[in-house]
């Protein structure tokens, strides 16, 4: 398993899979544990899980792609979260998301190929008064507008 970013974690993963060998019904649980361990679910991790649990890769990926919680790419250096809680939503967070998706060329839940940014949608951050709210690596930015959000990203290179 050379050149695997998850290197030393591979053994740990083997243990998780071994505990669920030939138990297709445990698929979601195993995916969850694997993602907690490695941070994301690259193809070869999904292949190992498919083999171990006795399911096909298409079934594994079917589940991975169904739940927004699972991701197949490593988290970017800068993790951008856009709040789509009710308050932020009505104050225009969908437009901000759309603008950033266009700017970065990725969809929410995905990361840029250069590994720099990842983009996700979150529920209410508890700062509704400042909505729409966006965070970059946990630092919050309030009263966002689409172009302002792009400007914020300029600070993170």
């Amino acid at each position: 398993m050379e050149a695997c970013k998850c290197g030393e974690k591979w053994q740990e993963l083997d243990k998780i899979i071994a505990a669920h060998r030939n138990r297709p019904q445990d698929l979601i649980e195993v995916l969850h544990k694997a993602q907690e361990l490695i941070g994301y679910l690259p193809k070869k991790v999904q292949v190992a899980i498919a083999e171990g649990l006795g399911v096909s890769l298409s079934e594994v990926y079917s589940v991975v792609s169904f739940y927004a919680h699972f991701t197949t790419k490593p988290k970017g250096k800068y993790q951008i979260s856009i709040c789509k809680g009710t308050a932020c939503y009505v104050k225009g967070s969908p437009q901000i998301l759309e603008r950033l998706e266009k700017e970065l060329g990725i969809k929410a839940g995905d990361s840029t190929d250069d590994g720099r940014y990842s983009l996700e949608v979150v529920r209410c951050l508890g700062a509704c008064g400042l909505g729409p709210v966006m965070t970059v690596n946990k630092r919050a930015y309030g009263l966002m507008k689409p172009e302002k959000a792009v400007a914020v990203l300029q600070q993170y290179q």
Partner: protein
Amino acid sequence: MSTVTLTIDNVQVEVEAGTTILKAAEKAGIHIPTLCYLEGINEIGACRVCVVEVEGAKTLMASCVAPVAQGMVVRTNTPRVRAARRLNVELLLSNHPMECPTCIRNLNCELQSLAQSLGIRQVRFEGRKVDYPKDTSTPALVRDPQKCILCRRCVAVCEKVQGVKAIAPLERGFDTVIAPAFQEPLYEVACVECGQCTLVCPVGALYEKDYTNEVWAALADPDKFVVVQTAPATRVSIGQEFGLPPGSINTGQMVAALRRLGFDRVFDTDFAADLTIMEEGSEFIQRLTKGGVLPLLTSCSPGWIKFIEHFYPELLPNLSTCKSPQQMFGAVAKTFYAQKAGIDPAKMVVVSIMPCTAKKFECQRPEMRDSGYQDVDYVLTTRELARMIKEAGIDFTALPEEQYDDPLGESTGAAVIFGATGGVMEAALRTAYELITGKELPSLDFYEVRGLKGIKEAVVNIDGTQVRVAVAHSLGHARQLLERVKAGEQYHFIEIMCCPGGCIGGGGQPIPTNTEIRAQRIAGIYNADKNMPVRKSHENPSIQALYREFLGHPLSEKSHHLLHTHYTPRGKY
């Protein structure tokens, strides 16, 4: 058996407990429309086209999954039911590309005919169109997600019948798409290109890659000498495309149609099937008597070959080295026949008419160029041939019966049964028995290996040796049988066909192809066998001449070079 009595549209009907309302209605003579439902394979209640009203129930019920109950009162044709069905189909149409006139499934599309039968004259909604691109990566199949209605019939067939699981529903909600993992192109994954998914797709979202333009061009080119071969199973299926009952034998009309289309020679894959029996039968005898890897696995079915290469590479030594009849034909046509007829093989184009999509993949395999050229140039499915015949304005049913050309058109009853599950085994036994014992077979019919049972077994006494044979059709059953072999069960000879029912149920056959139609085509195949004057491959005079004039004897060096091959382990991912 406990039974339940219920009333459907005022008709009383008694059925077994646990029956669905849909089946009960069928028994009462009432037709309920369905779309996602495929009996025994896809019963997921997803499309809700089959809804009915049940007295006392608040919501409409999907009759394809709802079980009957004692005293139930069902109505299948109320204003509420009709409105709901229309609405559901309208929603499917709301983001559907309305390309019926140019669509491959025009006039044979379940969505189209539902819209008609439900009386939908306008679609009140306009939905966002799907923007996933077409997948044309394989030589055999096209996937068009824009026309997909997400019924999941293809997924169910690929998983439950074929045990391949190449495709699955991915993403969620509006973005849902049926595709291989990671939305990789089909060519990159362990799909065997059997085309069973194209048989069950109700719309034009999964279909065969069309090579009719290439063939029209070859036919129009005066420099090309175009020969055609027709697979055993096509003669009992082509008639269906022209309104004839499934299983009717139309060999002579098909030959006549091919001549009118302009093929220079009309030959028969059945000839090559007889040749296959000579080679494979001899290989079996050699492995049996001289000690070779057993059980011998047949190798006529390219979907099965791709399957074993992906999923059971450890059993490749068991696989016969014989090419499929289609490929043997191509290799012989571009060498022996080209020489004999004085034709430059570089100018020869070999076209196959096949019940199969996987053969399109097979003919492009790099191993299949032993004549010095690509042995078979183009593969057309039964469906594509029917389209060419229609395009040419030929009235198929009015055609006289014509004969194949010599010498690659002569064949036996043993060859035609290649089209049905069990046929290759039966043909091989007819020849192997006589070659080993030197005696004539008391009866040519091996009934135990015929029919639609998933796995069939028989024991045949050949000169004191109890030869154990087994036959499986569909890859799901093949998997079960191979697991038995791996667990140590002893067989001598195993026939495996990729598609349910064998080639008569192939992925390139007329739509619909279902269990009932498969049985009718099988009956046609065995009738064709019975009508043949010669029913054993080794008694085919043209095959005997081929060995005399060109190949020498079965398993000769020349045979090995032209008629045998090797395989490529492929891995699952």
